[in-house]
């Protein structure tokens, strides 16, 4: 055989000359239907398979932490709802806890119960957004509408109590903003049944669907070790099999008075687990709300705090189990009426850190499901 022929039959030569493929760069986002905001992933693709990925964030950066330094403690509270806009009511809670540790304020019992009720309702609403957009990212439009219908009821309840539907500025330091309106407790109890009913319908349409299972089971598993390594918290961490839920393991507020189970899945930690954990958690949250509504004590709903509040110089660091994970607020005081420094620990910010590590080797389709299952909110990442 001549050299020329040898070369032609050489597999390396064949690969390099005939079957050479070219990698190309695809900017997924910031304007893309399923990046859930203005997130951009710079993907290097080989066909539809991702070779490498890079996070590009900051399109929604508003400098909230810097804004805080120019405002008083009370004035900054509404800004925290803009931080994670899908679970607006839970953010001021974390902020209020940080201020209460800083200033040593006792919160009345009724306020604690109201905080739990509003917080858990908001958690359900936030998880409903997650499962709805998760369904939507697979092209399931109809279940999306069912989940949003369920969320509508919660929004109405929150509007009655605080006046806002989405950016619920209800929890303030020292308690809650206002007393619940008359008949609200009964309406809330009735609404819980409707939420569960709609959730069940959503569940039946989506969770058992073989196509859905095929697209989520075993897709991009995150093991417990990886989850800890990358700083996962909240639902994503529990979906990886780590039993860690601040509400259960080290209860703050009055969470120790309710009977509920910590939702945790000892499995692969794939996209389905992350979705299913939220379904479980919503049902647990409804349980908590129901008990809290039953037990709601009478009394004051806000401690006496002077309007111009000056905490002593020091540092308060508080953690709250928010809808997306552990939400931390660090508030440093210099003794004046304005915070010296406010730092927000956002769970989603850590969650997206794993994307460049997990993306190589998966297809765009799985990448979309992975992004949706991580359930990040860009308002929280970019601050």
């Amino acid at each position: 055989m001549s050299d020329l022929k040898k070369e032609a039959f050489d597999s390396d030569a064949l690969e390099s000359d005939l079957f050479e493929t070219q990698e190309f760069v695809l900017n997924l986002g910031p304007q893309h239907p399923s990046t859930h905001g203005v997130y951009r992933a710079r993907l290097v693709l080989n066909g539809e398979t991702i070779v490498s990925a890079e996070n590009k964030i900051g399109y929604l950066h508003r400098g909230i932490e810097k804004i805080a330094e120019g405002l008083t403690y009370a004035q900054f509270a509404p800004y925290t709802t803009r931080f994670d806009y899908c679970s607006g009511a839970l953010q001021p809670w974390a902020y209020a806890l940080a201020l209460e540790t800083l200033g040593g304020i006792e919160v009345p019992e009724r306020a604690e119960y109201l905080r739990v009720i509003v917080g858990e309702l908001q958690r359900v609403a936030s998880h409903l957004i997650m499962i709805a957009s998760f369904a939507l990212d697979f092209g399931a439009w109809t279940p999306w509408a069912y989940a949003f219908n369920a969320r509508e009821g919660i929004n109405n309840l929150l509007e009655e109590i605080s006046g806002s539907r989405m950016l619920v500025n209800y929890i303030v330091y020292g308690g809650v903003n206002a007393e619940v309106p008359e008949g609200w407790v009964e309406r809330a109890k009735a609404e819980l049944d409707k939420i569960l009913y709609r959730l069940d319908d959503f569940d039946k349409v989506l969770s058992g669907n073989e196509i859905f299972l095929g697209r989520t089971k075993g897709i991009v598993p995150v093991s417990a070790e990886e989850a800890i390594e990358w700083g996962f918290t909240g639902a994503n961490l529990r979906a990886s099999g780590v039993a860690f839920d601040l509400r259960k393991t080290s209860p703050y507020s009055v969470y120790d008075r309710f009977a509920f189970d910590m939702a945790v899945i000892k499995g692969e930690g794939d996209c389905f687990d992350r979705y299913w954990l939220r379904m479980m958690e919503m049902r647990e949250s409804v349980k908590i709300v129901r008990q809290a509504l039953e037990k709601l004590p009478a009394g004051e709903c806000r401690a006496k705090v002077s309007k111009v509040w000056r905490p002593a110089a020091g540092e308060g660091y508080a953690l709250v189990e928010a809808a997306r994970g552990v939400q931390g607020y660090q508030v440093v005081s210099d003794g004046s009426t304005k915070p010296f420094r406010v730092h927000m620990r956002s769970p989603s910010f850590c969650h997206i850190g794993i994307i460049p590590a997990k993306a190589p080797g998966i297809t765009i389709q799985d990448f979309i499901s992975f992004m949706a299952s991580l359930d990040f909110v860009l308002g929280e990442i970019d601050r």
Binding site: F138, A140, I211, F212, G214
Partner: protein, 352 residues
């Protein structure tokens, strides 16, 4: 060749209006006239169907998700598609600078041509059919698979990465699902003994093919959804992945052509399903064409129901479903049909 020249000669003779020898030789003249009549008829049907289907799809989608759908423009929102058309016509149609202009502009025209052609092949009722081809079903499949080329042209010509990826997926998907679809149809062809769509309709006077070929019907429904690139097989325009797939860069009237062709194809494919499996225009009391339209829209409702319940399948599973499930099953179905026909002939007519 000689025949062709004779026909051409007769054709021109026909225009002169001088019947030469016999009626048979004057027929081309008549054919041209009828062709025009049917062409206009097919266009009208195409346009009317598109308008109704756009309204129906949005309305039905709303009803499934507990909404009411479009209900503002006209009674029950029926004029909504007209409203949309006015809006879309008044939009500027920009051609991307980096696009391959000829291919970019040709793709929407091609896709529309294909979908209109399909309307010319269907027997809408006894005696109502634009073109009576004795290989009708074959021609229908051939024409409908040409959609691939138009979609790929759109994807390539736009010079957009999303479009290209969407176009590539389509080629893989439509070409693959041609096979189970054709195999499921061959069973019908064997039963009725003809490739002519009219003959297939006539063969179902007593018994619809869906009774004899239930498995083929299921395969047909699945591959029809895939051919139409509708959910769960809407890979081409997978919004959450490729923004709008192959027509990401299209706007204005060019986008409208893609949009309308999609709905036109839905009707054509549903009509094919009705002709093949649900007895075509056969039915008691009412005229045949009414039965045909009723059945087609019922079938379309069924397809919409599937589309608005299910979600997008994973690409590799879509291929697996095709090559590992549908094709083997349709082959087995074909074998069983052949054996069944022979047994039937043996027991009823005593011949093999």
């Amino acid at each position: 060749m000689v025949d062709f020249l004779t026909a051409l000669f007769n054709f021109w003779q026909g225009f002169w209006g001088v019947p030469k020898t016999s009626l048979a030789e004057a027929l081309p003249w008549m054919d041209i006239l009828w062709a025009f009549v049917y062409l206009i008829g097919a266009f009208v049907l195409w346009a009317v169907n598109v308008i109704i289907l756009i309204w129906l799809e949005r309305r039905v989608a709303g009803f499934f998700s507990e909404r009411v759908g479009p209900n503002r423009v006209g009674p029950l929102g029926l004029l909504q598609p007209i409203n949309d058309a006015i809006k879309i016509l008044s939009k500027e149609s920009v051609i991307p600078q980096a696009a391959d202009k000829f291919i970019y502009m040709a793709a929407p025209l091609l896709i529309m041509t294909i979908s209109v052609t399909m309307y010319g092949l269907l027997p809408y009722g006894p005696g109502i059919r634009p073109i009576s081809l004795n290989v009708g079903i074959l021609f229908f499949l051939a024409v409908s698979s040409t959609t691939t080329i138009a979609v790929l042209m759109a994807g390539w010509g736009s010079n957009n990465k999303y479009s290209l990826l969407g176009g590539m997926r389509t080629v893989a998907q439509i070409i693959s699902y041609e096979i189970p679809m054709a195999l499921s149809i061959i069973g019908i062809v064997m039963l009725s003994g003809s490739l002519d769509l009219g003959a297939i309709t006539d063969a179902q006077k007593n018994l619809w093919n869906i009774v004899l070929q239930p498995i083929a019907f299921v395969i047909f429904v699945i591959s029809a959804q895939a051919e139409l690139t509708r959910s769960p097989f809407d890979m081409t325009e997978a919004e959450q992945e490729f923004v709008a797939g192959y027509h990401t860069e299209y706007m204005g009237m060019r986008f409208a052509l893609f949009f309308m062709a999609e709905y036109a194809n839905l009707f054509a494919m549903a009509a094919l399903g009705v002709i093949l499996f649900l007895g075509g225009s056969n039915g008691p009391f009412l005229p045949g064409w009414i039965w045909f339209i009723l059945k087609t829209y019922a079938f379309i409702m069924f397809l919409l129901w599937i589309r608005w319940t299910l979600l997008r399948i994973r690409v590799n599973r879509m291929m697996m479903l095709n090559w590992k499930v549908l094709i083997p099953i349709s082959l087995v179905n074909l074998l069983l049909t052949g054996v069944g026909i022979k047994l039937w002939q043996y027991f009823t007519e005593g011949r093999v």
